[in-house]
């Protein structure tokens, strides 16, 4: 089978007929240097986002008693990541760019009912991928505050992917006409 669809290839496969380009030499713009077909759509964005277990346990601080001054106190509340392993105490979110253009990733947490969280970084820049390299960045996340008294959703993390203009500025939102 010979594919004649030259503009609809993703990951080396034609999205119309399923033909796979077996040539491994891919040049600039995602074109196969042997057959000249467009192996990757250079305008397409392809990003992988993975995350470790996102569950946390809340431990309310214990009541304490200061015997010398006869004052009741309380230890601080703590949040512990349930997936704690190898000494790591916060889950990791990994963003991998597989596009032929640089992308940005911005991270935000919306907590429910007073829950607060923090990222090790809130903004990532990932260079354009090449045939041999797919840039990846990681971010750690932890719950920093708030209390719960039952099993519940703590909120949601939003990873916003944007492109980078040729001038290096992030894509800007501008006014439309709603």
């Amino acid at each position: 089978m010979k594919c004649r669809h030259t503009d609809r290839f993703t990951d080396g496969r034609c999205s119309t007929c399923g033909y796979v380009c077996t040539h491994e030499t891919i040049g600039s713009g995602g074109k196969c240097t042997v057959c000249g077909k467009q192996i990757f759509d250079p305008t397409a964005i392809s990003v992988d986002i993975t995350w470790e277990e996102m569950s946390f346990t809340f431990a309310p601080g214990r009541e304490t008693w200061d015997h010398e001054n006869h004052i009741q106190g309380r230890e601080p509340d703590t949040w512990v990541w349930d997936g704690e392993t190898d000494g790591r105490t916060a889950p990791v979110i990994t963003v991998t760019n597989k596009s032929f253009q640089a992308v940005t990733a911005k991270l935000a947490f919306t907590g429910s009912e007073g829950i607060t969280g923090q990222f090790s970084r809130t903004s990532l820049e990932l260079a354009a991928a090449t045939v041999t390299d797919t840039p990846a960045e990681t971010v750690r996340f932890r719950i920093t505050g708030g209390t719960i008294d039952k099993k519940q959703s703590l909120g949601s993390i939003t990873v916003t992917i944007g492109t980078v203009s040729p001038e290096g500025d992030n894509k800007k939102d501008t006014e439309g006409e709603a």
């Binding site: 964005i45 993975t50 709603a178």
Partner: protein
Amino acid sequence: MNKTTEENKEQKRKLLIIILIIGIVVCLAVTMWALFFRNTKDPGLAPDYAPGQTEPNATPVEDDGSKLDVPEGGGGISIEYVSSVDIDLSDNKATFQYTHPAKSTQNIILQIVVKDTVIAQSGLITPGNRLTELTLLDGAAGKLSAGTYTDAQFKILSYDPQSGEKAMVDTVAQITVTVQE
């Protein structure tokens, strides 16, 4: 004298009956509207559990079947899209390129959001499917006018395929929406 009093009472009784009938008609009308005509769709809010109905317009894409390397208890999605979306108000549809590769470990719902308003929403999309078209939600076309919107996003809501529970991580992709009448 007595006759006049009787007539007044009769008039008051008739007035009361008329008011009661009007009240009953109003109540019935409100009930009918609430049951049959009120728009109960609220797609702007992400459901906590995935809907049972899969997206009928999603088409399968061939893949080698490999999955993202995700730690136990975690999740991962791969997103592939072209960042331009076209909307034709004459046929009330949005056309675009979005692929939910088989290597993703989550099911998704795809929303198209323009200026913080959800204008189109898919059903559940399982990994290994592509979507190129969505019908605009009721009333969405009336909020758009011909031109280009750069304050627009694909919002990708992730759901665990086993439990159907919403994942803690959602993804948003910035897009440009071009509307034509």
